[in-house]
């Protein structure tokens, strides 16, 4: 199989774009949020290296504009389902970085009380319906959530985020078919970072223009520069309104560049290091947006510096919170298995005895 390379490009928006119609405070907020996600992930990587975080861990580096632009367009009534690369999504949705970091540390104060870890963040009050570690696992669920919204006549839409390679699994086709068939208010957000682990989009998808893959279901699709926070916000707003008002599902393909390997332990040896370096420089949403804001007079160097130091502090506080939080209790292991105790899942009292009897451990 010959390797093709028609990965769409990002960074098309000129630096000197007209921002006069924008609210300057909002622009500043977008930038600060993007920086928060960047620092959070960089420090997460550092904590992983220090063995404070274990297991499988996937970073949003390079996707900051996609995430912040998306969340800027959503309302509190909306619901979000994501894949396992989701730290930034839950933070940009408004969940404090502390409980998110605590979850990565496996602590009781984490958003999933230490049960989930990096790939399974969850916050019902934020309508953040979870990161899903099985590729495509979230798609039918998001479709069902959209069905429920429509059925109950509730406001809001469902955003179903996924990676580019998810568009190859059966659940994608089944979910899109149903969403189109029943006119459900759901946006299928495909984050196209060029790679499904080590396989390029071209190598995995017979139609590598992923936003066109809804054509079999007559579903509208568009592609947006995922490194452009305003373009991302505007595209989401448009499709969101369409979904809510007209009950029309859509695909939104946001193109960005994966800064590192698939996960923190992926050596990324299938990519040319020089090309990765160039890709990072060419597709980094942060300096690009900062430059635009400076040119438009929305921020100055002093503001950028102060914001960076504020964000550094905020992320440090999240790490401190995680570090000083307690571990989950062993006697709680069987909690939430069923609504009521069942004979082969001990209740708290029996579980405590089991814990006492269990020797060894670490």
């Amino acid at each position: 199989m010959a390797k093709r390379t028609n990965q769409p490009t990002t960074g098309a928006e000129p630096a000197g774009r007209d921002l006069s119609s924008e609210n300057p405070q909002e622009l500043q907020q977008y930038y600060a949020q993007m920086l928060l996600l960047r620092r959070f992930e960089e420090r997460t990587s550092e904590m992983y290296t220090k063995a404070k975080i274990g297991g499988y861990c996937h970073l949003n580096l390079g996707e900051e504009a996609t995430i912040v632009g998306l969340m800027a367009a959503l309302t509190p009534a909306d619901y979000i389902f994501t894949n396992y690369r989701e730290h930034g999504y839950i933070i940009a949705r408004g969940v404090a970085p502390g409980p998110v970091m605590a979850e990565l540390f496996g602590k009781e104060t984490g958003v999933s009380r230490g049960r989930g870890g990096s790939m399974h963040l969850f916050d019902a009050t934020a309508h953040f319906m979870g990161g899903y570690a099985i590729v495509g696992g979230q798609l039918p669920l998001a479709t069902g959530a959209a069905y429920a919204l429509k059925y109950q006549g509730k406001p809001g839409v469902v955003v179903c985020q996924m990676g580019d390679a998810t568009t190859n699994i059966g659940a994608w086709h089944e979910s899109l078919n149903l969403a189109a068939l029943w006119d459900l208010p759901v946006i299928f957000l495909v984050v196209n970072n060029g790679y499904g682990m080590g396989t390029t989009v071209d190598e995995g998808a017979a139609e590598p223009d992923l936003y066109k893959r809804g054509c079999a279901f007559r579903m509208h699709g568009e592609r947006v520069d995922g490194t452009d926070v305003l373009a991302m916000r505007d595209a989401t707003r448009r499709l969101r309104e369409r979904a809510e008002q007209e009950k029309k599902p859509a695909i939104l393909e946001a193109v960005s560049f994966r800064f590192r390997g698939h996960s923190v332990i992926d050596s990324d040896r299938y990519r040319d290091p020089e090309a990765v370096k160039q890709g990072r420089n060419a597709n980094d949403p942060l300096p690009h947006f900062a430059h635009q804001l400076v040119l438009a007079g929305v921020v100055d160097d002093a503001w950028l510096k102060a914001t960076a130091s504020r964000i550094d502090q905020e992320v440090q506080e999240a790490i401190d919170f995680a570090e000083h939080s307690p571990n989950p209790k062993i006697e709680d292991l069987f909690d939430y298995m069923y609504a009521t105790p069942v004979p082969n899942t001990p209740g708290r009292a029996e579980a405590a005895i089991i814990a006492q009897n269990a020797q060894g451990g670490r």
């Binding site: 199989m1 496996g106 230490g114 049960r115 099985i134 390679a165 020797q359 060894g360 451990g361």
Partner: protein
């Protein structure tokens, strides 16, 4: 003889089987350029080319389904499922199609596929990267289910699985990939499917186990040996069909049986072995059959302390052995 770790032995098995038989090919997610997420297929693409080392899209039902179709038409596919936790989308293809093709075609067709999948906890993989899923397959006739614990067995069992005319599911414990080393002959050889291995002969208690737990059980047996408890450790190696003769023979000798597995207690392989012993060796028993398994919770909560509690270890096994010995 080369000393290999378990992942190298798996790789060696596939390379040698492919070199020997042009019908053998591997397919799976990122098995080509990346060499597999655990590097089981590292180097195979360069050696055998993209027709025989096939990078697949993320579509497990498609991976196994395509393997089944290719096997029906003369090929010997070895499909890799990246984690056992991802095998569920392919379960329909495995249970409903692969397992019953020979039967439904009155022997006209057969389905000689191998599906390999890394399984097991203790790697902070949390809920969807830690599961033991073997019991889903050992309850379906038509399949064979294999779990190697040593590099030698990993290669020999995998080659036997590739040569076997029926579908074989091979579960490889992630912690063993780089956690054990051992002698592995060059070239092809087989370890027969359906035969357990007595890893340690003993007179007082029969301990049946497999995978990572075979190593933990041997450690435990060593500890209790110093206390005068003589444990026979039997590595099942094949979970379906079970080596009934070895299991029953050992229990008839020792009179006590302990089954140790990382999979959950309820519905695990241990229940089947317990029933087998109760039905066929009841009169030989001096104590109730005991099972030591993971608790009936989802494998496995992320937090270090919960994971450590969930996982068995040599100390917990030694405790269970002592309790049974004292009965």
């Amino acid at each position: 003889m080369p000393q290999l770790n378990l992942i190298e032995a798996v790789r060696s098995a596939m390379a040698d089987a492919m070199a020997e038989d042009a019908r053998v090919f591997v397919l799976g997610e990122d098995v080509g350029l990346k060499g597999g997420v655990f590097l089981a297929t590292d180097g195979l693409l360069a050696r055998f080319g993209p027709d025989r080392v096939v990078d697949m899209p993320i579509a497990e039902a498609g991976i196994v389904g395509m393997a089944i179709g290719a096997s029906l038409h003369g090929l010997r596919p070895v499909a890799e499922i990246q984690f056992a936790d991802y095998i569920h989308p392919a379960i329909d293809q495995i249970l409903n199609e692969a397992a019953r093709l020979r039967y439904r075609s009155n022997g006209d067709w057969h389905c000689p596929i191998v599906v390999r999948a890394p399984f097991g906890a203790g790697v902070h993989g949390a809920l969807y990267h830690s599961q033991s899923t073997e019991a889903l397959f050992t309850s379906t006739p038509g399949l064979k289910v294999v779990v190697p614990s040593t590099p030698y067995d990993a290669k020999g069992l995998l080659i036997a699985a590739i040569r076997d005319p029926d579908p074989v599911i091979v579960f490889e414990h992630k912690q063993l990939y780089r956690g054990v080393r051992g002698d592995v002959p060059e070239g092809t050889y087989t370890v027969p499917l359906g035969q357990a291995a007595v890893r340690r002969a003993g007179a007082q208690i029969s301990l049946f186990t497999y995978g990572l737990m075979a190593h933990y059980s041997l450690e435990a047996a060593k500890v209790v040996a110093d206390e005068g408890i003589d444990v026979e450790v039997i590595d099942l190696r094949t979970l379906y069909p079970l080596d009934q003769a070895t299991i029953l023979g050992s229990v008839r000798k020792t009179g006590k049986a302990l089954i140790v597995h990382e999979d959950k207690l309820t519905g695990g392989v241990g229940g089947e072995i317990s029933a087998l012993i109760a039905e066929h060796a009841f009169e030989a028993l001096d104590a109730p059959v005991r099972r030591l398994a993971s608790p009936d919770v989802h494998a496995v909560a992320f937090s270090d302390v919960l994971e450590a509690h969930f996982m068995l270890n040599p100390q917990k096994i030694a405790t269970a052995v002592r309790e049974l010995a004292a009965y």
